[in-house]
């Protein structure tokens, strides 16, 4: 994968996703902005991040993927105003952003589902070219 391809991937990403962490390497989370900077500099870290993108991997373990998903979801939800945002077709339950964050932190079934689907969505974003 060349710098050109990484740039094309970066440009396809919605702007709002560019400063949310999407890769995790040696315990550090990297946003697309950081990935592009490292790859542009031609650093060793950039090469390794590039390889993760090529291989469609977010990190080196499921645990790392879940950590990443939780960080992203919490960052994203904090950007929304505190008002009813989401509902589910079960008992008329509704959630504000902070209530969704609580579900994620407590590891409830709703929180788990959000994390699982966030991992799938991150993999989808990785494949945008």
């Amino acid at each position: 994968m060349t710098l050109h391809v990484v740039r094309a991937w970066y440009n396809r990403l919605p702007p709002v996703e560019r400063d949310l962490p999407i890769l995790i390497l040696d315990g550090l989370a990297y946003t697309p902005n950081m990935v592009l900077a490292e790859v542009t500099r031609g650093s060793i870290v950039g090469e390794r991040l590039q390889r993760l993108i090529e291989e469609g991997r977010l990190g080196n373990s499921r645990l790392e993927e879940e950590q990443l998903a939780k960080i992203r979801l919490k960052e994203l939800l904090r950007r929304y105003p505190e008002m009813p945002l989401v509902a589910v077709l079960r008992e008329g339950r509704i959630f504000t952003p902070s209530q969704l964050i609580e579900e994620i932190e407590r590891g409830t079934p709703v929180g788990r589902m959000l994390v699982i689907s966030e991992i799938e969505y991150m993999k989808f974003l990785l494949r945008l070219r």
């Binding site: 396809r12 709002v16 008002m83 945002l85 077709l89 079960r90 008329g92 079934p109 589902m113 494949r127």
Partner: protein, 248 residues
Amino acid sequence: MVRPNTFLIIEPLSHMLEYGSCVLAEIVREGRRPGQTVVELRGNDANPSVIDASILQLDPEVVVGIGHGDYNAYTVECKQRYLVTGSFRVKMLKDRIVHLNSCRTAVSLGRDIATVAKAYFGSLDDFFFYIGSPPCSDRASRATFLAEHEVLRALLEGERDPVAIQGRRVEAHRREIEYWTVGPGRDRPEAPIIARLLTLNLTVSAMYTPERVEATPRITTAVIPIAVAVATALLYPRIETLLRESGG
């Protein structure tokens, strides 16, 4: 023998259900064809006795309903229980195509329905939707239901193959995710949350036919959070694969 081209649509309104019911009504308005009988039970009419009477009178080929649900129950207006696993009403769905847009009914109730129905469509876990704007006021409030009710759109167009209908449902989710990720909706403030809700609903989307339900493992409610991802991988095309195509 069910009456071909006859549709019963259950559209409760209370407890946030208007979000889905208004989309169903729009799809019926746009999609119904000459020669079809489509009966919509809206609001207070979406109650157990009227639904029972309508099924007996119409003998519909297709029953589509929105409502709150759980593993063993589907409820209608004002959260009145309508379908329960093992109840006599499940038998009333014999030979029909049934879509319950409701949480978790695919775990147990849907399996029960699929033993008698021609096909059942539902969800293995919670079905999420966006309520940051009023029902049917914009694309955002419609998004998850537009994708889910591709099932009804396909049925109104005459499609009767359950596998093909499920394929259209999956494809509609993929289209909608693209719309909010790389399409015209991507710069809207609500886009990131809607793309995630669509991904979530697609992950738990389920379809059973009598043959298919026999061949698929039953999931116990105690292990649902972990089992959903596994079941999705086993029973349905993996979302990863589906989304890969749109990712290029």
